[in-house]
């Protein structure tokens, strides 16, 4: 599978996702240390194996597989498939200096670099413009932050 290319690092806080399935919404908080809580419940720990497989440890450790297509998140776990829509994502709860990383959605060529190390960026600013499949794709900052050297 095409790995996404990490293009740089940004200072971002903990991420909160709101995922929707049918008429239910779930709040998922993702820490930068691989911990996850769902609707404020008990903590799970996650690791990506790099090929779609995700090891999730809540009680026992289990394998899940996930894939994203647009706003849809596909997940396979325990013989069942779940589709979620991302209702909201990327809200920084802690505006502190935790490090995350930012990745391109697919292998692509860099057309323009819009920022320089040290620049202060705001959520939504274009950082880099990529070209793939004959289209220019801006990669935007998911949160306010400072471009690392």
């Amino acid at each position: 599978m095409g790995d996404a290319a990490t293009l740089g690092t940004l200072s971002v806080g903990q991420q909160t996702f709101v995922l929707r399935r049918g008429d239910r919404e779930y709040r998922v908080d993702v820490g930068d240390d691989g911990t996850v809580t769902v609707d404020g419940g008990s903590t799970l720990t996650v690791r990506s194996m790099g090929d779609g497989e995700v090891r999730v440890r809540g009680g026992a450790e289990v394998s899940a597989w996930s894939a994203a297509a647009g706003d849809t998140r596909w997940v396979y776990v325990g013989g069942e498939v779940f589709e979620f829509e991302v209702a909201r994502e990327g809200r920084s709860r802690a505006p502190g200096a935790a490090r995350g990383s930012l990745s391109a959605p697919m292998p692509a060529s860099v057309v323009r670099v819009e920022v320089a190390p040290g620049d202060r960026v705001r959520k939504g600013d274009a950082l880099v413009v990529l070209e793939a499949m004959k289209m220019e794709l801006p990669v935007r900052a998911p949160a306010d932050g400072i471009v690392a050297a």
């Binding site: 996930s66 013989g79 060529s109």
Partner: protein, 496 residues
């Protein structure tokens, strides 16, 4: 005598299956492909490949002239039609022979005769094979059909004489229903088969669909290879098949096998074929009725291969080339238990609607007693143009309970994301108490639909994976080797 080069006039898993059999038999294989399939697994599997047209089946896999043209240009001396597409088209069988290519299947006139429900039924009656009480009304008007329905009795089935696969089929439970459903059945028959002739028969309630694999050579020998239980169907199409049938006694198995061989022989059959029966009742007292004959390799042939230990496709190649049947009836054995699960890109929750789209993640299970026949790969796209069968998972074990457990474990290791499939649904069927108990009938899925569709709430693990998993979008490759020129950026496909 053996073939030198076989053209495989099909796509997907069955084309891959046939190409493998050719390779293992020392025969060159030629794949054909439409524009939608230029990089499909069956094309890569073959020794060579020929483009036969655009994605539209009518202009490619269903085009006799395109396929025959490919066979000529590739210098093939035989054509394997697989199933579906042109496999039961007598004109195609004749066109192959006219082009100097052996058609790997029965003669065109046998296909034609068995393709007509009326002619096939008459032939079966003449051979003493039991048939469902039914009639093809001489008066094909609405009134004539309605009268025939009264004659066979309610509930009755009205269906296209020329057809198969459930098209043009209607169940009439009272006189009222007939007024609307008889014309509807006729219209659908005309649309699907170009022939509005209708056939009326008594509906066997809660029947089992049990079929017998037969095989005949050119030297007068014929054998059967036991039964396949195919009662688990949705939209009148099989999704789970197994052998042995949990509902067959040894005595009934022997009677059905003998009837199937008699049916094949009276039809003048050659090569691999299947006699489909409806089974009514249980135990030695159960009745079986001839339903139809499929004059080709079946989708579900791996189930028979698993329990008998034979290779049906390699045998097809031998017998079509004039060789003798590789087995005698008394040496064929049925051992263990096999279950095939058809993995479709379809959405069970919306009436099993076929799905098209990208296979973002596609991981097949493997291990002891697991066989996968597939014609797709991760990163590929399932086109809208064809049957949405992704793969067949066939498990074999010592007993039916062991096979069910193995199948459930294998399904749980079959990961497909990016497109809806029936994988979880199949797991729910296998785990249903009635399935485990062998209480099968063709209405099983409809009867238990609500329970089979029930999906648990997502566990926290699913939400954690959804929020943290990485995108799996597969883009055209644009990376070259490090510090090297990158031909891939500019060359993704060449003209063929």
């Amino acid at each position: 005598m053996t073939f030198r080069r076989v053209l495989v006039a099909n796509r997907g898993e069955i084309a891959v299956r046939i190409i493998r059999a050719c390779r293992e038999s020392g025969i060159e294989s030629v794949a054909v492909f439409s524009d939608a399939d230029a990089d499909a697994p069956h094309v890569y599997a073959a020794d060579r490949s020929v483009r036969i047209g655009p994605a539209s089946p009518a202009e490619s896999y269903l085009s006799i002239s395109a396929v025959i043209g490919a066979a000529r240009s590739a210098g093939a001396d035989a054509v394997h039609p697989g199933y579906g597409f042109l496999s039961e088209n007598p004109a195609f069988a004749r066109a192959c022979e006219a082009a100097g290519c052996t058609f790997i299947g029965p003669p065109g006139d046998v296909i034609e005769r068995m393709g007509s429900k009326i002619a096939a039924r008459e032939l079966m009656v003449s051979a003493g094979v039991p048939v469902v009480p039914g009639v093809t009304p001489g008066d094909q008007s609405d009134t004539g059909i309605a009268a025939a329905v009264v004659q066979v009795g309610y509930p009755a089935l009205v269906k296209a004489s020329a057809g198969g696969g459930g098209k043009g089929m209607r169940v009439l439970r009272d006189e009222q229903a007939g007024r609307e459903l008889i014309p509807a059945a006729r219209r659908e028959a005309v649309t699907a088969f170009g022939d509005g002739t209708l056939y009326v028969e008594r509906l066997v309630d809660q029947p089992r669909h049990v079929e017998i694999q037969v095989f005949c050579d050119n030297h007068g020998d014929a054998v059967h290879l036991f039964e396949r239980e195919c009662s688990i169907q949705r939209r009148h199409q099989k999704v789970i098949e197994e052998s042995p049938s949990p509902g067959l006694t040894p005595k009934l198995r022997q009677a059905m096998g003998a009837a199937a061989v008699a049916a094949a022989q009276v039809a003048g059959y050659r090569n691999a074929g299947t006699i489909e029966f409806l089974l009514e009742g249980t135990g030695d007292a159960a009745s079986f009725y001839f339903l139809e004959m499929n004059t080709r390799l079946q989708v579900e042939h791996p189930v028979t291969e698993a329990v008998t230990g034979v290779d049906l496709v390699q045998a097809q190649l031998v017998v079509a080339a004039g060789g003798a049947l590789p087995w005698s009836q008394e040496h064929l054995t049925q051992r263990g238990h096999a279950i095939e699960l058809r993995v479709y890109a379809e959405d069970p929750a919306t009436g099993f609607l076929p799905q098209a789209g990208p296979l973002l993640v596609y991981r097949e299970p493997q291990g002891p007693g697991i066989r996968i026949d597939s014609g797709v790969r991760e990163g590929g796209v399932i086109p809208v143009d064809y049957d949405p069968l992704l793969a067949k998972l066939t498990v074999t074990a010592e007993s039916r309970p062991a096979a069910i457990n193995r199948a459930i474990a294998a399904l749980r290791a079959f990961v497909v994301l990016g497109i809806r499939t029936n994988i979880p649904f199949l797991g729910h069927v296998l785990d249903h108490p009635d399935f485990r108990a062998g209480r099968l009938h063709t209405g099983f899925i409809d009867q238990h639909l609500a329970r089979l569709l029930a999906t648990p709430d997502p566990p926290d693990e699913a939400l954690a994976a959804a929020a943290t998993g990485r995108p799996s979008v597969r883009a055209p490759s644009v990376a070259g080797s490090p510090a090297a020129g990158d031909p891939w950026a500019t060359l993704r496909r060449w003209g063929r």
